[in-house]
Symmetry: C2
Subunit: 567 residues, 2 copies
C-alpha cells in the first residue's frame, strides 16, 4: 500500500472549543455506503463504523472510495476507539486503509471481530487492537459511556449503540430489520431499546435506506420452503449464490442440503473465508461430514451436491462469473444443474447481475432469480413501518436519517412528519456537516471539508479529479499524440511532426484524415515560425486547431497531447 | 456522416438457392433493442424494422449500435421495402444510418412516418421513399403479401404484421400490450388477428420482453387519477417527464392541465418535435390557447403551469438534467414545485435516473417517482398472461421469441411449454441465425456473421474492438508515454528518454516513482546498446519492464506507449 494521505503524526493539536456533543458524518449521509461518524465531546472522540464506498460511473478505474479523515489529522491522540455496528464492507471495509493512520482500539461483536481480523491478516496489520464487545456490558471511553442492544440484520450479531455523554443520550441505529424468528442470533431487542429510552433520548441517528419500502419485511425463514422446493426440482447439482457475509442464508442452504443428502462445498475466496470464521466462532451448525472441499466436487454425483458460491452481484472475476465463463478449475455446469440467485442486485450492480443471469440462461442451466421465483431473498434493511416502530419506541427529541441517498432522506422526512415530528426536529445532514447537541437541542451548525478519497490499486488518495477527468476523456474519445521534435539549442523544428493515436480511430482506415491532421500541425508551426520558443503557446495552438479539425471531421473530441521533444 | 460500412454498390449478386422462406434476425434476439429482421423468399427480400441499440458499459464512447447489414451487401436490388412496426428508436433509429446504403421504400403507419420524416429531415435525407400504410389495406411486395392489424403500445398506431408467401403465413408481432381503453387509437385488434389465423399460422415471431412479468397490465387511463391528485397537491408548477414518444401520456397531462387552468409548455428538443408531429397529424386534442412556448413560462404564475419535459431516464444534457443543474435558459425550480417521473428506468439507465431524482430531491422540490407513488407509469410491453392470450388466439405451429434478452427467451420458453408447445416448436434464435420455413416446418439452420456496428460521433463502423480495448485500459489505468529520441541516421539515443502520463498518477506527487521509471527505461536501452536498431524489440522490452515496475509499485497496469522519435 502507498498512502498519499496527509501526515498523521500524533501531536497535541488545539482543542476546538465547543459545548456539548458534536457529531460529524464523514460518510454515509446522502449516500448508502462509506459509513463513518465522529462523536466528539470535550477532548474525547469516538468513531462509529469505518466503511468503504463503491465507485460510481464517473470514478473510472477506482477500486474503492474511503472517508476523508483530514479532520482527525491533529486529533489522533484524542480518539478513544472505533466502534463497529456490524461487519458489512460499507461499515468495516475502510479499516485496513484508515486504521494505520489512527492506531486506536477497535470494538466489535464476536463475528465482526472475526471478519475484521481476517482483513487485518490479509493486510498484514496487527490484530491486538481489535476487541470483542459483549452487548450486555457497558463500555467506558473517556467522557463516553457506550451501551449496546442487538438488532436483526442480514449478518448476525449486529448492534445498535447507545451513547451517553454528560447531559445527553444519543442512539446510533445503523442497518436493522425486524425478524422475530432469526435463523442465527436474537431478534431486535425492542424491550431493551424501550428501557434505554425511558429517561428520554436527545437524538436518534437511524438508517433510512428502507424509507421508500412499504409494509414490513418477511422473516428470513420464509425462504426455506423455496430452497426446499428448488432442491426437489433439481436433478443435477445446485449452485446457490448470496452475499458471503449472509451466514443465516448459508446455514439454511446447509440445512436443505443435509435433509436431501447433498454434500456442500463453499466456492469463492470471500465465501470460504467468511464461512471459516463463522464456523470457527460457533455461529454455524454443521452436520458432520457434509462439507467437502471444492477439489472434491468431481468425486460426487451431481444430484448429491450443493455449492454455495460467491459472486451474487455478477462481480467480474468472482467464482460464479468464472463458472459462467467455463473458466473455473473445479466447477462446471451441466444441463440439469440449477443456479439460485438468493440476492437482489444493489443499485450499481444491476447491469452486471443481469448479464450474468443472461449468460447462465444461455448455457442452458435452470436459473432461479427474483423475477422468476418468489421468496428467494429478503432484504436485510428496515422498511418504512419498521422505522416508524423504532421511532415510536425511542421517541427521540430529534432525528438524523443515515445510510441513505438524499431521496431516501426526503422519504424518511415525510414519514417522520407523519409521526408528528416538525421540520426542525429532522436534521438532513450532508457528509461533513456538523450536528451540535447542546442542552438537549440538536442543530446543524457549520461543516468541515470532506472529499472523496479514492483507492486505486495500491495507491490511497493519489487519484484525484484531474486524473479522473483525463480518464473520462480518453475512455470516450481516445488520445491523439502530436510529436514535435525540436533542436534543444536552436529550438528549430528537426524532422517532421508525427501523430500517434490510441482509442480514437482505426489508423489504417483513417490515413487520409490523419495526413490532413498532420498538415494542420505543420501549418500551426509555420504560422508562428519563431513562436516555437514559446512552447506553451505552440502547444495550445496545436491543441485548439486539431480539436476543431477532429470535431468537424468526426464530431469527436479526443485528448490532444502535443509533445515537444528536445534533442 | 462518415460511413465506414462495406461498399454497397447495387450489383447482380448470386442468389443463394434456398427453398421456402428464410428469416434472419440481424438484431433484436438475445437483446431488447437493435431490432431488424430480414425476410427472404426466392429473389425477394423485405425487412421489418431498423432500430438502434444502446451501448453497454464495455462500449466506451460509443453513441449507438446499429445492425450489421453486410449480408445485404450484394442483395440491395432485391430489397422490396423496409416495414416499420412502431416508431420507437430501437425499431426506427437505424434508418438514418442504414437507409442510405439500401435506398429502398419505407412503409409505416401515419405517426411513424411523421417521426421518421423528422429524423430524415435532420439527417438531410430525402423523404419521398417514406410511405404511409393504411392498416386496413394489403401491401404486395414481390412474393410477399403484407397485411396489418393494430396493437396497443406506448406509442399510438403500432401494428402487427401478417406475412404471406406462397405456401406459408407468418405473423411478426413486435412490442404490444392489451389496453381496452387506450387514450389514443384503437385497442389491440384481437378479432382481426383471430381471422388472420383461421387457416393456420406457420410461425409467430413475438415480443418476449414481458415473459417474466406476471398477470396483466393496468390500462393507461389508470394513471389519470394520480396525475389529477398530484396536480391538486401542487402549489407551484408541475414538471412532468416521460418518454417523448408517449403521445397518450402527453395527452393525459394536457387534459389534467386544462381542467386545472394550467398552461402547458413542451420542453426539450425531442419532446417539442414529437409533440409537433403528433399535433400536426391530428393525434392530439389540444384546447385552444393552452400551449405556450418555453420562453413564455416566466410570464405565468407557477400554479398556472405544467411543463412536459424530456429527460425521464436521466440522460445527461437532457432538458430535465439541465434544469436540475440550474443550467436551463427558461426553467428554474422553486420549493413549491413538483417533478413527476412518469417513466420507469430501463435497465441501463437505472443509475442515471436515480442520480437525477436524488439531485432534484436535494434541491428541495417535491419529487414523485415509482417507489413513492403508485400508478405513475404503466409499461408499454405485454405481460406473461398477455403473451399467452396472443399465442392462444394465433395458435401458430412454431414460435420465435424476439425483443428480449436470453433469460427472457428462456422465460418465454417455459411459458410456451405450459401452453403445450414442445422444445422443437420453440426456436431460440441468436442474431444472425437463419430460420428456414419449408412446407410448414420452421427450423434453425446455419447462420450468417453479424457483428456490432458502432456509431461514434460522425463515424459509422470505424470504431472496432481494438479501439474499445484501448479506451478501456486508458479509462481504468491511464496512459504512460515513453519518449525515446534517436538519431535517424545512426539510430543512436540523442538526449534523455522522458516519461509523460495522463490519467495514471498525479505527476507532481509521484515524482520519485516516475524518476525510478525513467531509470527502468534507461536500463532497458542500456541492456541492448545495439538493439535500438530493432525498434519492435526495444519497444516491447520497455513495455514489459515498465508494466512490471508499475504493477509492483502501484498494482496498476496503464497503457504503455514507447515513442521512438527519429530526428
Amino acid at each position: 500500500m502507498k498512502s498519499f494521505l496527509p501526515n498523521f503524526k500524533s501531536n497535541q493539536g488545539q482543542v476546538i472549543q465547543h459545548q456539548g456533543l458534536r457529531i460529524i458524518p464523514l460518510g454515509g449521509v446522502g449516500d448508502v455506503t462509506k459509513n463513518m461518524y465522529i462523536y466528539e465531546y470535550g477532548r474525547d472522540i469516538i468513531i462509529i463504523d469505518c466503511g468503504v464506498g463503491f465507485p460510481d460511473e464517473a470514478m473510472l478505474g477506482v477500486d474503492l472510495v474511503i472517508p476523508d479523515i483530514s479532520y482527525l489529522k491533529d486529533k489522533v491522540d484524542r480518539i478513544k476507539a472505533i466502534i463497529i455496528t456490524h461487519p458489512h464492507d460499507d461499515h468495516i471495509g475502510g479499516l485496513v486503509y484508515i486504521w494505520p493512520e489512527l492506531k486506536c482500539p477497535i470494538y466489535a461483536t464476536k463475528l465482526a471481530v472475526g471478519f475484521i481480523k481476517n482483513k487485518f491478516n490479509e493486510a498484514k496489520l496487527p490484530k491486538d487492537p481489535i476487541h470483542i464487545i459483549d452487548p450486555e456490558n457497558k463500555l467506558n471511553l473517556g467522557a463516553f459511556g457506550i451501551s449496546f442492544y442487538r438488532v436483526s440484520h442480514s449478518v448476525p450479531d449486529s448492534v445498535g449503540i447507545v451513547i451517553d455523554t454528560p447531559g445527553s443520550r444519543v442512539i446510533h441505529q445503523s442497518d436493522f430489520k425486524l425478524d422475530w424468528t432469526p435463523i442465527i442470533g436474537k431478534p431486535t431487542e425492542i424491550a431493551k431499546i424501550a428501557r434505554f429510552s425511558e429517561d428520554g433520548i436527545d437524538l436518534l441517528l437511524i438508517d433510512a435506506l428502507g424509507s421508500e419500502k412499504k409494509g414490513y419485511n418477511e422473516p428470513e425463514i420464509n425462504i426455506l420452503p423455496t430452497f426446499k422446493k428448488i432442491e426437489e426440482e433439481t436433478e443435477g447439482k445446485i449452485l446457490l449464490t448470496t452475499a458471503s457475509s449472509n451466514i443465516s442464508r448459508i446455514q439454511m442452504a446447509i440445512n436443505v442440503a443435509s435433509d436431501a443428502g447433498r454434500k456442500v462445498a463453499l466456492v469463492g475466496r470471500s465465501m470460504e473465508s467468511n464461512f471459516q470464521v463463522a464456523r470457527d466462532l460457533g455461529y454455524l451448525h454443521i452436520p458432520p461430514g457434509i462439507i467437502i472441499a471444492q477439489e472434491e466436487v468431481k468425486r460426487f454425483p451431481d444430484n448429491k451436491l450443493l455449492l454455495i458460491i460467491a459472486g451474487s452481484q455478477g462481480q467480474p472475476g468472482s467464482a460464479l462469473s468464472r463458472v459462467a465463463n467455463n473458466d473455473h478449475k473445479h466447477v462446471f455446469l451441466k444441463k440439469d444443474d440449477t443456479v439460485i440467485f438468493s440476492a437482489d442486485p444493489i443499485p450499481s450492480t444491476e447491469t452486471a447481475q443481469h448479464a450474468l443471469i443472461d449468460k447462465l440462461a444461455k448455457m442452458g442451466v435452470d436459473v432461479r432469480y427474483k423475477e422468476m421465483e418468489d421468496a428467494l431473498h429478503v432484504s436485510g434493511h428496515e422498511t418504512a413501518e419498521e422505522i416508524k416502530m423504532m421511532i415510536n419506541i425511542i421517541r427521540p427529541k430529534a432525528l438524523v436519517p443515515i445510510g441513505a441517498t438524499y431521496r431516501g432522506m426526503i422519504a424518511f422526512s415525510k414519514l417522520a412528519k407523519d409521526l408528528g415530528y416538525t421540520e426542525k426536529q429532522i436534521l438532513l445532514a450532508e457528509d461533513g456537516q456538523i450536528i451540535n447537541l447542546v442542552s438537549g437541542v440538536s442543530r446543524l451548525e457549520g461543516r468541515i471539508d470532506v472529499r472523496n478519497i479514492y483507492v486505486d490499486g495500491l495507491g490511497i488518495g493519489d487519484v484525484g479529479n484531474v486524473i479522473l477527468r483525463d480518464r473520462k476523456v480518453m475512455s470516450e474519445e481516445g488520445i491523439v499524440l502530436v510529436i514535435v521534435p525540436v533542436d534543444s539549442h536552436t529550438s528549430q523544428l528537426v524532422g517532421e511532426p508525427d501523430i500517434v493515436t490510441r482509442g480514437f480511430v482505426f489508423e489504417r482506415e483513417a490515413e487520409e484524415m490523419l495526413s490532413k491532421a498532420r498538415s494542420v500541425v505543420r501549418s500551426c508551426l509555420a504560422d508562428h515560425p519563431n513562436a516555437i520558443l514559446d512552447w506553451r503557446f505552440t502547444r495550445s495552438h496545436i491543441e485548439e486547431n486539431l480539436d476543431k479539425f477532429f470535431f468537424e471531421e468526426l464530431h469527436r473530441r479526443p485528448m490532444i497531447l502535443p509533445l515537444i521533444v528536445e534533442v
